[in-house]
């Protein structure tokens, strides 16, 4: 087990080094001179400014030198300075990462709140109208682009019904949970949380569809097994069998998918944050591509990739603890 952990950890480190190599040489891959491109958009730049920028972006160094220097700085938490805003990139990312992380968190919560009952119900009532509705939702879920769902929900819930805000972010809802519980100020929580609802549903819809299907098929398989028949024969109540015996096993395949779904969430936030004017790293990336602020793009790619790798590693290890059957492969 320990040997496996060490080898997985080592492997993740190698991949991260590869990511740093790609990220650090990114500006060199730009056809022509990226500084000329930037200067074309800023008529005020002098030749001396351009030379300084070339120096700062590492265009004067070779790829190995650039790699070593980027890695050395990044390890110390320095990912360069934004070309447009003149602010350290690490600061920009640190300001915006919490908003993205919390959005992804609520999306995951919503995904499970809806997917678990839907998965169980469609498995128990197989072939009923409920099951067909589930199939319909599943197809719709994988077919609807997040941004389209977002725009349609804004149209309905914000413009027609005026229930929820169409865009914006009013601070963390998670931090407000404490306040709501301790001081009884539910309105504090709600004022922050209502801004999360539409973007989180836009992100979660595809996950609800996929997870509900996976839980359904896993439930169908588990319910046919001997220990379920035995529990039924023993007189264990049906509800207890479904929730305690079957669901616990049926959730395992969902855990396997959790790592990949983090990737879907990270990709999704790029689009959804733009729709809802959400101050997260996804929108930061898109804005930076439009104005060619390379240090920010490099940092967002690096941070997202490292997050994704670390989360996948965690899921991989957790899974071995949850399901002892996969321990020795």
């Amino acid at each position: 087990m320990l040997k496996l952990l060490v080898s997985r950890f080592f492997y993740a480190c190698v991949i991260i080094l590869g990511v740093v190599l790609v990220v650090s040489s990114l500006v060199k891959l730009v056809p022509g001179d990226p500084v000329d491109v930037i200067a074309a958009g800023n008529p005020g730049m002098s030749v001396a400014d351009m030379d300084r920028l070339r120096e700062r972006m590492g265009l004067t160094r070779s790829i190995p030198e650039q790699f070593a220097s980027y890695l050395g700085h990044a390890v110390q938490g320095d990912m360069g300075t934004s070309i447009r805003q003149g602010v350290p990139v690490t600061k920009l990312i640190a300001e915006r990462l919490p908003a993205t992380a919390e959005l992804a968190f609520w999306a995951l919560v919503l995904a499970f709140i809806f997917a678990i009952p839907l998965g169980i119900a469609t498995a128990l009532k197989r072939g009923s109208w409920l099951d067909y509705t589930g199939t319909f939702i599943a197809v719709l879920g994988v077919s609807t682009p997040g941004f389209l769902l977002a725009v349609l929900m804004i149209l309905w819930f914000s413009i027609e019904l005026r229930w929820l805000p169409a865009s914006g972010y009013r601070g963390s809802a998670l931090l407000a949970v404490g306040k709501a519980v301790v001081e009884g100020k539910f309105s504090v929580f709600w004022n922050a949380f209502r801004y999360f609802i539409l973007p989180a549903i836009s992100l979660a819809f595809v996950l609800i569809a996929v997870n509900a299907r996976v839980i359904r098929s896993a439930m169908l398989e588990v319910l046919q097994q001997d220990f379920i028949t035995f529990a039924t024969a023993k007189g264990v109540p049906r509800l207890r069998i479904v929730l305690r015996h079957a669901l616990r096993n049926a959730l395992l395949p969902v855990v396997t998918l959790a790592g990949l779904q983090m990737g879907a969430l990270l990709s999704g936030t790029v689009v959804i944050e733009t729709v809802f004017a959400w101050p997260g790293i996804g929108r930061l990336a898109v804005d930076s591509i439009h104005v060619r602020d390379y240090p920010i793009i490099q940092a967002v790619v690096l941070v997202s990739a490292v997050l994704f790798i670390v989360l996948n590693l965690t899921v991989d290890i957790l899974y071995r603890f949850i399901d002892p059957r996969v321990r020795d492969d």
């Binding site: 991949i15 991260i16 590869g18 990511v19 790609v22 990114l26 891959l29 730009v30 056809p31 491109v37 197809v139 719709l140 994988v142 077919s143 609807t144 682009p145 997040g146 941004f147 389209l148 725009v151 349609l152 804004i154 149209l155 413009i159 595809v206 996950l207 996929v210 299907r213 996976v214 098929s217 169908l220 998918l257 990949l260 779904q261 983090m262 990737g263 879907a264 990270l266 990709s267 999704g268 790029v270 689009v271 733009t274 729709v275 990336a285 898109v286 930076s288 591509i289 439009h290 060619r292 390379y294 793009i297 790619v301 997202s304 990739a305 994704f308 790798i309």
Partner: protein
């Protein structure tokens, strides 16, 4: 909107078509899913093929009186602009039809490139194993460290947004799907007795791959290609929506939705027509892809 759309669709172990009890057409005839999917796909493909003949106006033509014109069935609307006019006085019906052409074009180009490159590399890795396999699969593993859209963003950052970058980025993001599926299928088939027999008989490697391996891998690749077409259409729309894909004034559905977003309050129809068009295409393809998967691999039918 990433490749998680393909997760429950692990098409492992497809047996040769000889085992099928029903013919393809009669299975299709019995499947509501397959027929609906095929109908929607044909609708979109017909729009794309005959776009020039269908559209009443040029998609870029701007007429001042058409600005914010409502749809034909709304008060003040007329059959002149069936689906209304947009903020720049362009006919939304014409633009939506032309959008089908862009979507179908991008999807076919991207999936063809990804399919050819991915299948060839996957077949090489699976058939020969050894260092070729290690090299190709390490590349795949490395690429999996990047979330789908992030990979596309790297391309946009390096090459600048545009049609060519979009096609390259999406092809690059998708080849691994084909490589993985073809590799595992090839490895399975490679171990079968009749392949061993062919080798013993002195049949050339190339001939074995062409006559024994490829035909057996084909069903799995077909299913993957179909589902990936939906993924590409969604991704193209998303990236164009962000301003990173197809550039205005080209009528891409993503671009149309992005442009119409500012007018949601008063002219929601600018967004609705292209939105429904995206849904029709992706729902159609996913339904048909589901049917194909069930047909080729009945063991997965319970999904």
């Amino acid at each position: 909107m990433t490749d998680i759309a393909t997760i429950p669709i692990g098409t492992q172990g497809t047996e040769p078509a000889a085992k099928q009890e029903r013919s393809f057409l009669s299975s299709l005839g019995r499947s509501a899913k397959g027929l609906t999917g095929l109908f929607l796909i044909m609708l979109v493909v017909a729009c794309a093929l005959f776009a020039r003949q269908i559209v009443p106006y040029d998609h870029a033509q701007q007429v001042i009186e058409w600005r914010y014109a409502p749809t034909a069935w709304q008060a003040g609307g007329s059959t002149r602009n069936l689906l209304g006019g947009d903020n720049m006085g362009r006919d939304i019906f014409s633009r939506t039809i032309m959008g089908a052409q862009i979507s179908v074009q991008v999807a076919l180009i991207v999936v063809s490139i990804a399919l050819v490159i991915g299948s060839v590399l996957g077949a090489l890795a699976g058939y020969f194993g050894g260092w070729i396999d290690t090299l190709i699969m390490r590349a795949v593993d490395f690429q999996l460290a990047f979330p789908f859209l992030l990979l596309a963003l790297i391309f946009m950052a390096v090459l600048g947004p545009g049609f060519a970058t979009l096609v390259m980025a999406l092809s690059f993001a998708l080849w691994i799907n084909f490589a993985r599926i073809v590799r595992s299928e090839t490895m399975r088939i490679r171990k079968l007795d009749y392949v061993d027999a062919a080798i013993t008989m002195g049949v050339s490697q190339l001939r074995i791959i062409a006559t024994h391996v490829l035909p057996n891998v084909l069903p799995a690749v077909l299913v993957m290609a179909t589902l990936d077409i939906a993924l590409v259409i969604i991704s193209e729309a998303s990236l164009s929506f962000l301003g990173l894909g197809v550039q205005p004034p080209t009528a891409s559905w993503g671009v149309m939705i992005a442009e119409g977003r500012d007018f949601l309050y008063d002219q929601p129809w600018i967004v609705i027509a292209p939105g429904i068009a995206v849904l029709i295409s992706s729902v159609g393809i996913n339904l048909f892809g589901d049917f194909l998967r069930d047909y080729f691999d009945p063991r997965l039918e319970r999904m």
